[in-house]
Amino acid sequence: MMYAQMVKSTGNAVKSPTEMTEQERAFQARIDAGEKIEPKEWMPDGYRKTLIRQIGQHAHSEIVGQLPEGNWITRAPTLERKAILLAKVQDEAGHGLYLYCAAETLGVSRDELLTALHEGRMKYSSIFNYPTLTWADIGAVGWLVDGAAIMNQVPLQRCSYGPYSRAMVRICKEESFHQRQGYDIMMKMANGSDAQRAMAQDALNRFWYPSLMMFGPSDAESVHSAQSMAWKIKIDTNDGLRQKFVDQTVPQAEYLGLTIPDENVKYNEETGHYDYSDPDWSEFFDVLRGNGPCNKERLGARVKAWENGAWVRDGLMANAAKRSAKVAAE
Protein backbone atom coordinates (compact mmCIF):
# COMPACT_ATOMS: atom_id res chain seq x y z
CA MET A 1 0.00 0.00 0.00
CA MET A 2 1.02 3.48 -0.74
CA TYR A 3 3.44 4.31 2.02
CA ALA A 4 4.39 0.76 2.70
CA GLN A 5 6.12 0.27 -0.62
CA MET A 6 9.08 -1.97 0.09
CA VAL A 7 8.08 -2.26 3.73
CA LYS A 8 9.03 -5.69 4.99
CA SER A 9 7.38 -6.22 8.35
CA THR A 10 9.03 -9.35 9.63
CA GLY A 11 9.84 -11.48 6.62
CA ASN A 12 7.95 -14.28 8.26
CA ALA A 13 4.38 -15.42 8.01
CA VAL A 14 1.95 -14.26 10.68
CA LYS A 15 2.60 -16.29 13.81
CA SER A 16 -0.09 -18.55 15.16
CA PRO A 17 -0.98 -18.07 18.85
CA THR A 18 1.01 -21.15 19.85
CA GLU A 19 4.10 -19.78 18.06
CA MET A 20 3.89 -16.45 19.93
CA THR A 21 5.51 -15.63 23.25
CA GLU A 22 3.22 -14.66 26.12
CA GLN A 23 4.10 -11.00 25.51
CA GLU A 24 3.27 -11.27 21.83
CA ARG A 25 -0.06 -12.95 22.61
CA ALA A 26 -0.99 -10.25 25.10
CA PHE A 27 0.01 -7.60 22.56
CA GLN A 28 -2.09 -9.20 19.81
CA ALA A 29 -5.03 -9.46 22.22
CA ARG A 30 -4.85 -5.71 22.81
CA ILE A 31 -4.83 -5.08 19.07
CA ASP A 32 -7.75 -7.44 18.53
CA ALA A 33 -9.68 -5.68 21.30
CA GLY A 34 -9.21 -2.39 19.46
CA GLU A 35 -6.88 -0.86 22.05
CA LYS A 36 -4.38 1.80 21.02
CA ILE A 37 -0.69 1.05 21.47
CA GLU A 38 1.12 4.06 22.90
CA PRO A 39 4.84 4.98 22.72
CA LYS A 40 5.89 3.71 26.13
CA GLU A 41 4.30 0.31 25.77
CA TRP A 42 5.86 -3.00 24.82
CA MET A 43 5.64 -3.86 21.13
CA PRO A 44 7.25 -6.52 18.94
CA ASP A 45 10.37 -5.33 17.19
CA GLY A 46 8.74 -5.97 13.82
CA TYR A 47 5.77 -3.77 14.74
CA ARG A 48 8.06 -0.92 15.68
CA LYS A 49 10.24 -1.26 12.58
CA THR A 50 7.28 -1.56 10.23
CA LEU A 51 5.67 1.52 11.71
CA ILE A 52 8.85 3.57 11.54
CA ARG A 53 9.16 2.76 7.85
CA GLN A 54 5.49 3.22 7.05
CA ILE A 55 4.97 6.46 8.99
CA GLY A 56 8.34 7.76 7.84
CA GLN A 57 7.56 7.06 4.19
CA HIS A 58 4.14 8.60 4.60
CA ALA A 59 5.84 11.75 5.95
CA HIS A 60 8.38 11.74 3.10
CA SER A 61 5.49 11.46 0.64
CA GLU A 62 3.91 14.60 2.05
CA ILE A 63 7.00 16.74 1.72
CA VAL A 64 8.10 15.39 -1.65
CA GLY A 65 4.48 15.79 -2.71
CA GLN A 66 4.85 19.53 -2.19
CA LEU A 67 7.11 19.73 -5.23
CA PRO A 68 4.90 18.77 -8.21
CA GLU A 69 2.17 21.11 -7.00
CA GLY A 70 4.44 23.74 -5.49
CA ASN A 71 6.05 24.45 -8.84
CA TRP A 72 2.71 25.77 -10.14
CA ILE A 73 2.17 28.32 -7.37
CA THR A 74 4.05 30.99 -9.30
CA ARG A 75 2.04 30.14 -12.43
CA ALA A 76 -1.42 29.85 -10.86
CA PRO A 77 -3.88 31.68 -13.13
CA THR A 78 -5.70 33.83 -10.54
CA LEU A 79 -4.93 35.28 -7.13
CA GLU A 80 -7.50 32.99 -5.57
CA ARG A 81 -6.08 29.86 -7.20
CA LYS A 82 -2.64 30.96 -6.11
CA ALA A 83 -3.75 31.30 -2.50
CA ILE A 84 -5.68 28.02 -2.52
CA LEU A 85 -2.75 26.08 -3.99
CA LEU A 86 -0.31 27.67 -1.58
CA ALA A 87 -2.56 26.74 1.35
CA LYS A 88 -2.84 23.18 0.09
CA VAL A 89 0.91 22.73 -0.33
CA GLN A 90 1.45 24.28 3.07
CA ASP A 91 -1.01 21.77 4.53
CA GLU A 92 1.08 19.00 3.03
CA ALA A 93 4.16 20.32 4.78
CA GLY A 94 2.18 20.38 8.00
CA HIS A 95 1.02 16.82 7.47
CA GLY A 96 4.62 15.76 6.94
CA LEU A 97 5.49 17.44 10.20
CA TYR A 98 2.73 15.67 12.17
CA LEU A 99 3.84 12.34 10.70
CA TYR A 100 7.55 12.86 11.43
CA CYS A 101 6.57 13.66 15.02
CA ALA A 102 4.51 10.46 15.19
CA ALA A 103 7.46 8.45 13.84
CA GLU A 104 9.78 10.07 16.38
CA THR A 105 7.78 8.55 19.22
CA LEU A 106 9.10 5.17 18.07
CA GLY A 107 12.74 5.94 18.78
CA VAL A 108 14.01 7.49 15.55
CA SER A 109 14.81 11.14 14.94
CA ARG A 110 13.49 13.26 12.09
CA ASP A 111 17.03 13.91 10.90
CA GLU A 112 17.68 10.15 10.73
CA LEU A 113 14.53 9.70 8.64
CA LEU A 114 15.53 12.53 6.31
CA THR A 115 19.03 11.14 5.89
CA ALA A 116 17.54 7.77 4.98
CA LEU A 117 15.34 9.48 2.39
CA HIS A 118 18.21 11.47 0.90
CA GLU A 119 20.40 8.36 0.70
CA GLY A 120 17.66 6.37 -1.01
CA ARG A 121 17.12 3.94 1.86
CA MET A 122 13.56 5.11 2.39
CA LYS A 123 10.98 5.81 -0.29
CA TYR A 124 8.02 8.09 -0.91
CA SER A 125 4.83 7.46 -2.81
CA SER A 126 5.62 6.69 -6.45
CA ILE A 127 3.01 9.10 -7.81
CA PHE A 128 5.17 12.10 -7.02
CA ASN A 129 7.73 10.96 -9.58
CA TYR A 130 5.37 12.07 -12.34
CA PRO A 131 5.54 15.58 -13.77
CA THR A 132 2.90 18.28 -13.59
CA LEU A 133 2.97 19.57 -17.15
CA THR A 134 -0.07 21.82 -17.16
CA TRP A 135 -2.43 23.65 -14.85
CA ALA A 136 -4.96 20.87 -15.44
CA ASP A 137 -2.49 18.51 -13.78
CA ILE A 138 -2.98 20.49 -10.58
CA GLY A 139 -6.68 19.71 -10.87
CA ALA A 140 -5.96 16.05 -11.61
CA VAL A 141 -3.56 15.75 -8.69
CA GLY A 142 -6.12 17.17 -6.27
CA TRP A 143 -8.95 15.07 -7.70
CA LEU A 144 -7.18 11.73 -8.25
CA VAL A 145 -4.04 11.70 -6.12
CA ASP A 146 -5.60 13.30 -3.07
CA GLY A 147 -8.69 11.20 -3.72
CA ALA A 148 -6.60 8.06 -3.53
CA ALA A 149 -4.70 9.31 -0.49
CA ILE A 150 -7.92 10.10 1.37
CA MET A 151 -9.21 6.61 0.60
CA ASN A 152 -6.14 5.24 2.31
CA GLN A 153 -6.02 7.73 5.18
CA VAL A 154 -9.59 7.58 6.45
CA PRO A 155 -9.34 3.93 7.58
CA LEU A 156 -5.89 4.58 9.07
CA GLN A 157 -7.57 6.81 11.64
CA ARG A 158 -8.47 3.47 13.24
CA CYS A 159 -4.95 2.01 13.13
CA SER A 160 -3.55 0.47 16.27
CA TYR A 161 -0.69 2.87 16.99
CA GLY A 162 -1.96 5.88 18.97
CA PRO A 163 0.28 8.67 17.66
CA TYR A 164 -0.18 7.54 14.02
CA SER A 165 -3.94 7.23 14.39
CA ARG A 166 -4.17 10.69 15.99
CA ALA A 167 -1.98 12.21 13.27
CA MET A 168 -4.34 10.67 10.71
CA VAL A 169 -7.38 12.19 12.44
CA ARG A 170 -5.78 15.60 12.28
CA ILE A 171 -4.74 15.11 8.67
CA CYS A 172 -8.15 13.87 7.54
CA LYS A 173 -9.80 16.95 9.05
CA GLU A 174 -7.56 19.21 7.00
CA GLU A 175 -7.75 17.06 3.89
CA SER A 176 -11.37 17.85 3.14
CA PHE A 177 -10.72 20.81 0.92
CA HIS A 178 -7.80 19.28 -1.01
CA GLN A 179 -9.73 16.91 -3.21
CA ARG A 180 -12.57 19.40 -3.67
CA GLN A 181 -10.26 22.15 -4.90
CA GLY A 182 -8.76 19.75 -7.45
CA TYR A 183 -12.14 18.66 -8.73
CA ASP A 184 -13.27 22.29 -8.85
CA ILE A 185 -10.34 23.07 -11.16
CA MET A 186 -11.32 20.12 -13.37
CA MET A 187 -14.95 21.31 -13.51
CA LYS A 188 -13.99 24.83 -14.53
CA MET A 189 -11.77 23.45 -17.27
CA ALA A 190 -14.11 20.73 -18.47
CA ASN A 191 -16.81 23.39 -18.79
CA GLY A 192 -14.49 26.00 -20.22
CA SER A 193 -13.00 26.58 -23.64
CA ASP A 194 -12.12 23.77 -26.05
CA ALA A 195 -8.47 24.25 -25.19
CA GLN A 196 -9.19 23.95 -21.47
CA ARG A 197 -11.30 20.86 -21.98
CA ALA A 198 -8.51 19.27 -24.03
CA MET A 199 -6.02 20.18 -21.29
CA ALA A 200 -8.22 18.54 -18.68
CA GLN A 201 -8.61 15.36 -20.74
CA ASP A 202 -4.86 15.21 -21.30
CA ALA A 203 -4.25 15.46 -17.54
CA LEU A 204 -6.69 12.62 -16.85
CA ASN A 205 -5.01 10.54 -19.58
CA ARG A 206 -1.65 10.86 -17.87
CA PHE A 207 -2.70 10.57 -14.24
CA TRP A 208 -5.28 7.77 -14.35
CA TYR A 209 -3.02 4.72 -14.30
CA PRO A 210 -0.36 6.21 -11.98
CA SER A 211 -3.17 6.97 -9.51
CA LEU A 212 -4.30 3.34 -9.64
CA MET A 213 -0.70 2.33 -8.98
CA MET A 214 -0.68 4.36 -5.77
CA PHE A 215 -2.47 1.55 -3.97
CA GLY A 216 0.31 -0.90 -4.76
CA PRO A 217 0.14 -4.23 -6.50
CA SER A 218 -2.27 -6.93 -5.38
CA ASP A 219 -1.29 -8.16 -1.92
CA ALA A 220 -2.86 -11.56 -2.32
CA GLU A 221 0.53 -13.23 -2.00
CA SER A 222 2.21 -10.85 0.42
CA VAL A 223 3.06 -12.13 3.88
CA HIS A 224 3.96 -8.58 4.82
CA SER A 225 0.45 -7.35 4.12
CA ALA A 226 -1.00 -10.14 6.24
CA GLN A 227 1.17 -9.25 9.23
CA SER A 228 0.43 -5.54 8.89
CA MET A 229 -3.26 -6.29 8.75
CA ALA A 230 -3.05 -8.52 11.81
CA TRP A 231 -1.35 -5.68 13.64
CA LYS A 232 -3.91 -3.15 12.33
CA ILE A 233 -1.23 -1.04 10.74
CA LYS A 234 -2.86 -1.76 7.41
CA ILE A 235 -6.62 -1.71 7.38
CA ASP A 236 -7.76 -2.57 3.86
CA THR A 237 -6.30 -4.61 1.03
CA ASN A 238 -4.65 -2.88 -1.91
CA ASP A 239 -7.14 -4.35 -4.36
CA GLY A 240 -10.05 -3.42 -2.10
CA LEU A 241 -8.97 0.20 -1.91
CA ARG A 242 -8.25 0.37 -5.62
CA GLN A 243 -11.71 -0.96 -6.49
CA LYS A 244 -13.29 1.54 -4.12
CA PHE A 245 -11.32 4.33 -5.78
CA VAL A 246 -12.40 3.29 -9.26
CA ASP A 247 -16.04 2.99 -8.20
CA GLN A 248 -15.94 6.48 -6.72
CA THR A 249 -13.98 8.15 -9.50
CA VAL A 250 -15.61 6.84 -12.69
CA PRO A 251 -18.93 8.63 -12.06
CA GLN A 252 -16.96 11.79 -11.22
CA ALA A 253 -15.22 11.61 -14.59
CA GLU A 254 -18.54 11.01 -16.32
CA TYR A 255 -19.97 14.09 -14.61
CA LEU A 256 -17.08 16.11 -16.03
CA GLY A 257 -17.73 14.70 -19.48
CA LEU A 258 -14.17 13.37 -19.59
CA THR A 259 -13.14 9.91 -20.74
CA ILE A 260 -11.17 7.50 -18.57
CA PRO A 261 -8.25 6.27 -20.71
CA ASP A 262 -9.31 2.62 -20.31
CA GLU A 263 -11.84 1.12 -22.72
CA ASN A 264 -12.49 -1.71 -20.27
CA VAL A 265 -13.99 0.58 -17.66
CA LYS A 266 -17.60 -0.54 -17.47
CA TYR A 267 -20.15 -1.03 -14.75
CA ASN A 268 -20.60 -4.73 -13.95
CA GLU A 269 -24.18 -5.50 -12.90
CA GLU A 270 -23.21 -8.82 -11.34
CA THR A 271 -20.45 -7.54 -9.08
CA GLY A 272 -21.92 -4.10 -8.50
CA HIS A 273 -18.51 -2.61 -9.25
CA TYR A 274 -16.74 -1.10 -12.22
CA ASP A 275 -14.50 -3.40 -14.24
CA TYR A 276 -11.18 -1.83 -15.16
CA SER A 277 -7.79 -2.72 -16.60
CA ASP A 278 -4.86 -3.22 -14.30
CA PRO A 279 -2.08 -0.67 -14.65
CA ASP A 280 1.23 -1.73 -16.14
CA TRP A 281 3.02 -2.99 -13.05
CA SER A 282 6.39 -3.05 -14.80
CA GLU A 283 6.13 0.76 -15.03
CA PHE A 284 5.42 0.87 -11.30
CA PHE A 285 8.51 -1.14 -10.46
CA ASP A 286 10.62 0.95 -12.85
CA VAL A 287 9.50 4.09 -11.03
CA LEU A 288 10.19 2.50 -7.64
CA ARG A 289 13.67 1.63 -8.84
CA GLY A 290 14.37 5.26 -9.64
CA ASN A 291 13.50 5.36 -13.34
CA GLY A 292 10.34 7.43 -13.21
CA PRO A 293 10.16 10.77 -15.09
CA CYS A 294 11.01 12.89 -12.06
CA ASN A 295 12.74 10.71 -9.48
CA LYS A 296 16.08 12.45 -9.84
CA GLU A 297 14.57 15.92 -9.78
CA ARG A 298 12.38 15.25 -6.74
CA LEU A 299 15.05 13.71 -4.58
CA GLY A 300 17.60 16.16 -5.94
CA ALA A 301 15.42 19.08 -4.87
CA ARG A 302 15.06 17.69 -1.35
CA VAL A 303 18.75 16.97 -1.00
CA LYS A 304 19.63 20.44 -2.30
CA ALA A 305 17.19 22.12 0.10
CA TRP A 306 18.73 20.17 2.97
CA GLU A 307 22.32 20.89 2.00
CA ASN A 308 21.73 24.55 1.18
CA GLY A 309 19.93 24.93 4.47
CA ALA A 310 22.74 23.50 6.60
CA TRP A 311 24.26 26.91 7.32
CA VAL A 312 20.85 28.15 8.46
CA ARG A 313 20.26 25.26 10.84
CA ASP A 314 23.82 25.45 12.12
CA GLY A 315 23.56 29.23 12.52
CA LEU A 316 20.33 29.00 14.52
CA MET A 317 21.72 26.25 16.74
CA ALA A 318 24.93 28.19 17.35
CA ASN A 319 22.89 31.22 18.31
CA ALA A 320 20.72 29.13 20.65
CA ALA A 321 23.85 27.83 22.35
CA LYS A 322 25.11 31.37 22.83
CA ARG A 323 21.77 32.35 24.36
CA SER A 324 21.85 29.41 26.80
CA ALA A 325 25.40 30.21 27.78
CA LYS A 326 24.45 33.81 28.43
CA VAL A 327 21.50 32.79 30.60
CA ALA A 328 23.62 30.29 32.49
CA ALA A 329 26.25 32.92 33.19
CA GLU A 330 23.72 35.34 34.68
Binding site: R30, K40, W42, E104, G107, D111, M317
Partner: protein
Protein backbone atom coordinates in the same frame (compact mmCIF):
# COMPACT_ATOMS: atom_id res chain seq x y z
CA UNK B 1 22.58 13.09 14.71
CA UNK B 2 24.91 16.01 15.24
CA UNK B 3 23.37 19.39 15.75
CA UNK B 4 19.77 18.30 15.42
CA UNK B 5 17.24 20.89 16.49
CA UNK B 6 15.54 19.88 19.71
CA UNK B 7 11.93 18.68 19.84
CA UNK B 8 9.31 20.82 21.56
CA UNK B 9 5.81 19.91 22.71
CA UNK B 10 3.12 22.46 21.89
CA UNK B 11 0.11 23.30 24.05
CA UNK B 12 -2.62 25.65 22.88
CA UNK B 13 -5.58 27.25 24.59
CA UNK B 14 -8.15 28.26 22.03
CA UNK B 15 -10.18 31.45 22.02
CA UNK B 16 -13.02 29.97 24.05
CA UNK B 17 -10.94 27.34 25.82
CA UNK B 18 -10.34 26.97 29.52
CA UNK B 19 -7.12 24.96 29.36
CA UNK B 20 -4.06 24.47 27.24
CA UNK B 21 -4.30 21.24 25.23
CA UNK B 22 -1.39 19.27 23.80
CA UNK B 23 -1.60 19.60 20.01
CA UNK B 24 1.68 18.08 18.85
CA UNK B 25 5.36 18.76 18.49
CA UNK B 26 7.88 20.52 16.29
CA UNK B 27 11.60 21.14 16.01
CA UNK B 28 13.17 24.54 16.72
CA UNK B 29 16.53 25.87 17.81
CA UNK B 30 15.25 27.86 20.80
CA UNK B 31 12.07 28.65 22.73
CA UNK B 32 11.16 31.91 20.97
CA UNK B 33 11.50 30.31 17.56
CA UNK B 34 9.47 27.34 18.83
CA UNK B 35 6.66 29.76 19.74
CA UNK B 36 6.75 31.41 16.33
CA UNK B 37 6.72 28.03 14.60
CA UNK B 38 3.92 26.78 16.83
CA UNK B 39 1.82 29.72 15.69
CA UNK B 40 2.55 28.93 12.05
CA UNK B 41 2.14 25.17 12.26
CA UNK B 42 -0.65 24.68 14.81
CA UNK B 43 -2.75 27.81 14.43
CA UNK B 44 -2.79 28.13 10.66
CA UNK B 45 -6.51 28.37 10.77
CA UNK B 46 -6.51 30.74 13.75
CA UNK B 47 -7.33 27.93 16.08
CA UNK B 48 -5.39 29.16 19.05
CA UNK B 49 -4.81 32.15 21.28
CA UNK B 50 -2.33 31.19 23.99
CA UNK B 51 0.62 28.99 23.11
CA UNK B 52 3.02 27.16 25.41
CA UNK B 53 6.10 25.33 24.17
CA UNK B 54 8.08 22.95 26.35
CA UNK B 55 11.22 21.01 25.42
CA UNK B 56 10.13 17.38 25.01
CA UNK B 57 13.09 16.34 27.15
CA UNK B 58 11.59 18.31 30.07
CA UNK B 59 8.35 16.36 30.10
CA UNK B 60 7.99 13.66 32.73
CA UNK B 61 5.14 11.26 32.07
CA UNK B 62 3.42 8.70 34.24
CA UNK B 63 3.91 5.02 33.49
CA UNK B 64 1.16 3.27 31.58
CA UNK B 65 -1.62 2.03 33.89
CA UNK B 66 -1.41 -1.64 32.84
CA UNK B 67 0.94 -3.79 34.86
CA UNK B 68 2.01 -7.31 33.96
CA UNK B 69 3.85 -8.44 30.86
CA UNK B 70 3.19 -5.19 29.04
CA UNK B 71 4.66 -2.84 31.63
CA UNK B 72 8.07 -1.55 30.65
CA UNK B 73 9.59 0.66 33.36
CA UNK B 74 12.62 1.58 31.28
CA UNK B 75 12.38 5.35 31.37
CA UNK B 76 9.81 7.94 32.23
CA UNK B 77 10.08 10.30 29.29
CA UNK B 78 7.19 10.53 26.88
CA UNK B 79 9.33 10.60 23.76
CA UNK B 80 12.27 8.35 23.60
CA UNK B 81 15.72 9.56 22.89
CA UNK B 82 16.93 8.22 19.50
CA UNK B 83 19.36 5.90 21.30
CA UNK B 84 16.42 3.92 22.65
CA UNK B 85 16.91 0.65 20.85
CA UNK B 86 18.90 -1.50 23.22
CA UNK B 87 17.40 -1.05 26.67
CA UNK B 88 16.89 -4.56 28.05
CA UNK B 89 13.56 -5.40 29.64
CA UNK B 90 14.99 -6.51 32.95
CA UNK B 91 17.19 -3.51 33.70
CA UNK B 92 14.58 -2.08 36.04
CA UNK B 93 14.36 1.56 37.06
CA UNK B 94 16.98 3.78 35.44
Amino acid sequence: MTNEMPLWEVFIRGQHGLNHRHVGSLHAADAELALLHARDVYTRRNEGVSIWVVPSASITASAPSDKGPLFEPSNDKVYRHPTFFDIPDDVGAM
